[in-house]
Subunit: 256 residues, 2 copies
């Protein structure tokens, strides 16, 4: 039974998509079978793999409203054990459309349960908001990874996200846990980076991943080549950091 | 008659709030009277000025649903000519609540027209989405500033934003123009930064501001002290860049 992990933080630009793509790719190259679901209308996880609109047969939007099946929408990536369910801008309307559905928070959950049998890990890349799409992801997930950029606003917004996770746990998904808080874009030369990191370690203890993702320009160059960093520059610090994170998650989940 | 300018880009973390706070502060220290409206449920523009929840009498949420007036909600800041309408997490529910209102895209516009007489500039800091709150801001605004981080995803998402601006212009606000595209977090040492900048100048010509905001850690430290950078470190590059931008906007609008 595969584990479903949401990657969420309503603060924008904290490294959700970069983590979704590169953690999935790292686990897949370790031999695990991985599915990445893009539920952000921006579709960054989709275009980070170089998919163009013409290659996409169906998106998560059509799956949610029931006009496409999972099997029809799944795409192969350059990495053998890694598949993706793409998204596109049609999803912007979904938040308003889904409002009138019955059980509007559980639509995604009902659609992805069957996929658990075919994958070891299923990651969900969330948009920068606490709206219905993110709530659907948190309701379907076993756990959530919270990327936190080493900046003031990212730290400041955490309490709102923790509140939302708590609300989802009470009323929609009692088993939801925090997989871990992940420090991203860490720059050891900056006092602010060190202050935020210290604060996260104080607040979260061993709920914060030991692995820290350093600021590394190779991570931000990779998507312009349509590749995860492991295919773009496997020698980079960014690549090593995400392989380390994959190893840490496998150890935490006693998987090999 | 004051000019209303929205600061929008659905890509997260591109510098919308940093621009909203520091451009407002730069214009206000130049003697212009400025109002900043925070319509992001994260409330980063509000807490970037150090306001705590107890100091807030009313937010943009209560103004939109009609339980508070503009005058009751307006707060003074440390800068004499700069006032702010705060926001908070209650706004998350607004997108779903406003859907059932008549003229749901024009609610903000109806509320802020009267403020035009009292201010030279009114800036609206938007959330990282193309949902109803951002559409409300674009419908109320005379023009829009588009911050673009010097990264691949920020460039890639521009066409969706331009589409949305076009749709708003056709059906809701024919006078909406682009005030300018602003390059943010520019680092001249990085090839990616230079590539994105070159691309923006090719695509937008003189619609791109001549002023470029450099990556400068003083800009990201300032909000943790609850101050715009002009009060936190007036000698910093970040501060000079935003003063330059204020000057460029005044020149473009023939205001002194
Ligand atoms: N460790 C890193 N080092 C350098 N750049 C990074 C790093 N992680 C992410 N980036 C870059 O920072 C920007 C923001 O990252 P990303 O898009 O992954 O964040 P996000 O949280 O998914 O954003 P959004 O809120 O818009 O969905 C991107 O341009 C990305 O390439
Ligand atoms: N020029 C700059 N140099 C260094 N850091 C910056 C700069 N501009 C913004 N930042 C920092 O980058 C982060 C993102 O900026 P900001 O929050 O203003 O973006 P945003 O577009 O408003 O994000 P959101 O999409 O979440 O609303 C913040 O932590 C901010 O302090
Ligand atoms: Mg993303
Ligand atoms: Mg912001």
């Amino acid at each position: 039974m595969g584990k479903i992990i949401a990657i969420a933080n309503q603060k924008g630009g904290v490294g959700k998509t970069t983590t979704a793509i590169n953690l999935s790719a790292s686990l897949a190259t370790n031999g695990l079978s991985v599915l990445l679901i893009d539920i952000d209308p921006q579709g960054n996880a989709t275009n980070g793999f170089g998919f163009s609109h013409t290659q996409i047969k169906g998106t998560i939007y059509e799956i949610l409203i029931g006009t496409t099946t999972f099997e029809e929408a799944i795409l192969d990536t350059e990495i053998q054990n890694l598949k993706i369910i793409p998204s596109n801008i049609n999803l912007v309307g979904a938040e308003i459309e889904l409002v009138s559905f019955n059980n509007r928070e559980k639509i995604l959950k009902s659609k992805i349960q069957s996929a658990r049998e075919n994958f070891d890990f299923i990651f969900i890349d969330c948009p920068p908001s606490l709206g219905l799409l993110t709530v659907n992801a948190l309701t379907s997930a076993d756990s959530v990874i919270i990327p936190v950029q080493c900046e003031y606003y990212a730290l400041e917004g955490l309490s709102k996200l923790l509140n939302t996770i708590h609300m989802v746990r009470i009323s929609l998904n009692p088993d939801l846990t925090i997989e871990g808080v992940l420090l991203t874009m860490f720059d050891s030369r900056l006092r602010l980076s060190n202050q935020v990191a210290q604060e996260i370690w104080n607040l979260f203890g061993n709920k914060a991943f030991k692995t820290v993702i350093n600021r590394n320009v190779r991570l931000s160059e990779a998507p312009s080549h349509g590749k995860p960093v492991i295919l773009y520059d496997p020698t980079s610090i960014g690549c090593r950091n995400y392989l380390e994170l994959a190893r840490e998650i496998l150890d935490r989940n006693n998987k090999q």
